[in-house]
């Protein structure tokens, strides 16, 4: 599958083609292994890079000036160098333990057994929405897709109609949330 075909499919939200993107993992892995990383580091960094790449394609921020492999590699390289930089700065080379500030004792979080987690609460609210609101909100809030593209993808007459629909869905999702619970979860 060519880069153009992958981009075209991703722009339509057909993400199964991301399987092909993993062909570039070997290159990234090889570079990270040579630069003080291990297999897990390589996979984590690559996965984060794919998330950034996919979101950028969907939001229209990805400019196909270079090959996907070059794009992913540059993200991975920079990300890994930043991580290494931090490790070198804030870890003791002798024992590899991060030097935490003396006063950074993390207080035990107070657990309210009646409360769901923030992730569970939003997940349950989303589940109650149904389609097309779920997909529409994921496209607009998560992927930050342009309204004109949302309109094309969801068959709305115009970008304005798509935005109105997004606002209705947001309202519907907002109605699923209790302000008291939101406050307690904060």
């Amino acid at each position: 599958m060519t880069d153009q075909e992958i981009i075209a499919q991703l722009q339509q939200g057909k993400e199964a083609c991301l399987t092909h993107v993993y062909a570039h993992l070997a290159m990234v892995r090889s570079w990270i292994l040579k630069n003080n990383g291990n297999q897990e580091d390589a996979l984590d960094v690559f996965q984060d890079a794919v998330v950034v790449f996919y979101k950028n394609v969907r939001s229209g921020r990805y400019e196909a000036k270079s090959k996907i492999s070059t794009y992913l590699f540059s993200i991975c390289k920079k990300q890994w160098l930043n991580q290494l930089n931090r490790r070198l700065k804030y870890e003791r080379p002798s024992d590899g333990v991060v030097q935490l500030a003396q006063h950074t004792e993390v207080p035990e979080p107070e657990i309210d057994n009646d409360l769901p987690s923030r992730a569970t609460y939003i997940q349950e609210a989303m589940a109650k929405l149904g389609e097309p609101c779920q997909s529409l909100l994921i496209a607009t809030v998560f992927f930050k897709q342009k309204m004109i593209e949302v309109a094309a993808q969801f068959n709305y007459a115009s970008a304005h109609s798509a935005r109105q629909q997004k606002l209705r869905c947001l309202k519907k999702l907002g109605n699923q949330l209790s302000y008291d619970v939101v406050l307690r979860l904060r």
């Binding site: 399987t19 998330v51 990300q79 930043n82 030097q99 500030a101 923030r118 998560f142 309202k171 302000y179």
Partner: protein, 399 residues
């Protein structure tokens, strides 16, 4: 509570930083006066915080599936292609060997002839040593061109055993290839200490007054409508509720001091409702944020590096006994300032990037994306807000 779509539209634009300056001012004004609007903002902010996190996690799970699928398919492929690779490799090897046998350059008569050695080559045994030559070399070492000897100047090389040891030591200190690459790419810079300011809260109200424009650096909890200006024949008096503050004309920022004991010309008015006749005189009351009142804070060291993500990220670390804040910004040339608000001696950290304010959590020691400031719950956040200027009628005090 039911929000209308227009409100949700405004909140959505606010959360996506799409409001214009005027819309933003109106938005903040609405927030300050409309409790239901605040509640709605709180809920939609929760959605904008949590939905992307939830979907990122879901996407990562799906990616793990795609990875497994790729591994499964790629594990089969090499078996298919291995034979082809071996075949092509064998053919290539045979062709190379054949080419070498036929066209080998080592065959008699085909050895390339090189010219005799040049006579200006340096004979090490004949080199004269000069006692001061090392010094000269060292001085010249910083300049690239000076290291290139001219063709007519004899090359003089000296070897000092002690100095050569030093050279060896410095070689040990050279950065590793990773260090060098990182330093080249990290593009870090230190935030000027003048952009790291502390503000004590609660803070006293300050002002400047030129007779027409009264600029107040007031406690943000005091609304703009509660202030009134009175005057008698000689001086001005500012009131907030029953509290009275004498004003003097000053272009320097002065502390607004409460009128503590009755004194002329307002002696008879103290502790009684101040009344007056409206005059034609108007004074513009301008409310400024407290950013300008901050003093330089040296307790924090801030390093800025170029980040990849659109949103800024940060983490705190302790370095050489000093708290350090590491910021990753996509555009490091933006105006950046860090404010430390001390409330009851507890520092709270705020980041200002191009007039946008973010709250920073000093317990975060791993990379954390900046969180938008929550005006509803963070009362200190209001210290950064600018209220709209209002025009006040000056009242003549009744004697």
């Amino acid at each position: 509570m039911e929000e209308n779509l227009r409100d949700i539209d405004q909140i959505d634009k606010f959360l996506n930083n799409e409001l214009s300056a005027n819309e933003l001012t109106a938005f903040h004004r609405r927030l300050a006066s409309d409790d239901e609007f605040r509640v709605a903002l709180e809920k939609y902010q929760f959605i904008y915080d949590e939905l992307p996190q939830l979907e990122t996690e879901k996407l990562k799970q799906r990616l793990a599936g795609y990875h497994r699928a790729y591994e499964a398919t790629s594990a089969k492929k090499p078996v298919k292609f291995r034979k082809i690779i071996y075949l092509v490799g064998s053919v290539a090897a045979v062709l190379c060997i054949g080419w070498l046998l036929v066209f080998s350059p080592n065959k008699r008569g085909q050895i390339p002839q090189f010219p005799e050695s040049e006579t200006d080559m340096v004979d090490i045994d004949s080199i004269h040593l000069k006692t001061d030559s090392l010094k000269k070399f060292e001085y010249a070492s910083g300049e690239k061109d000076s290291l290139q000897p001219s063709r007519n100047t004899p090359v003089i090389v000296t070897v000092d055993p002690d100095k050569s040891e030093e050279k060896k030591d410095t070689l040990k200190q050279l950065p590793t290839p990773i260090d060098a690459t990182q330093l080249a790419l990290s593009e870090q810079k230190q935030l000027s200490p003048s952009n790291i300011k502390k503000i004590n809260y609660p803070t006293s109200t300050a002002y400047t007054f030129d007779g027409k424009l009264l600029t107040l650096y007031a406690d943000p909890s005091k609304g703009s409508l509660g202030w009134e200006v009175f005057k008698n024949d000689t001086s001005y008096l500012l009131t907030y509720g029953a509290t009275q503050y004498p004003l003097t004309i000053s272009t320097r920022i002065k502390t607004l001091r409460e009128l503590s004991k009755p004194k002329r010309p307002f002696q008879s008015l103290f502790n009684t409702p101040l009344t007056g006749e409206p005059t034609d005189e108007k004074i513009t009351l301008q409310f400024e944020s407290h950013q300008d009142l901050g003093r330089i804070d040296t307790s924090l060291h801030v390093v800025i590096e170029e980040g990849r993500l659109r949103k800024a990220s940060y983490f705190f670390a302790q370095k050489e006994g000093k708290l350090q804040l590491i910021l990753a910004l996509r555009n490091t040339s933006k105006d950046v300032a860090v404010y430390i608000i001390y409330e009851k001696n507890t520092p709270q950290y705020y980041l200002s990037v191009e007039e946008k304010i973010y709250r920073l959590d000093p317990t975060k020691t791993t990379k954390t994306t900046v969180a938008p400031i929550n005006i509803l719950t963070d009362k200190n956040a209001r210290l950064f807000l600018k209220k709209q200027a209002v025009e006040k009628t000056v009242y003549q005090v009744k004697n």
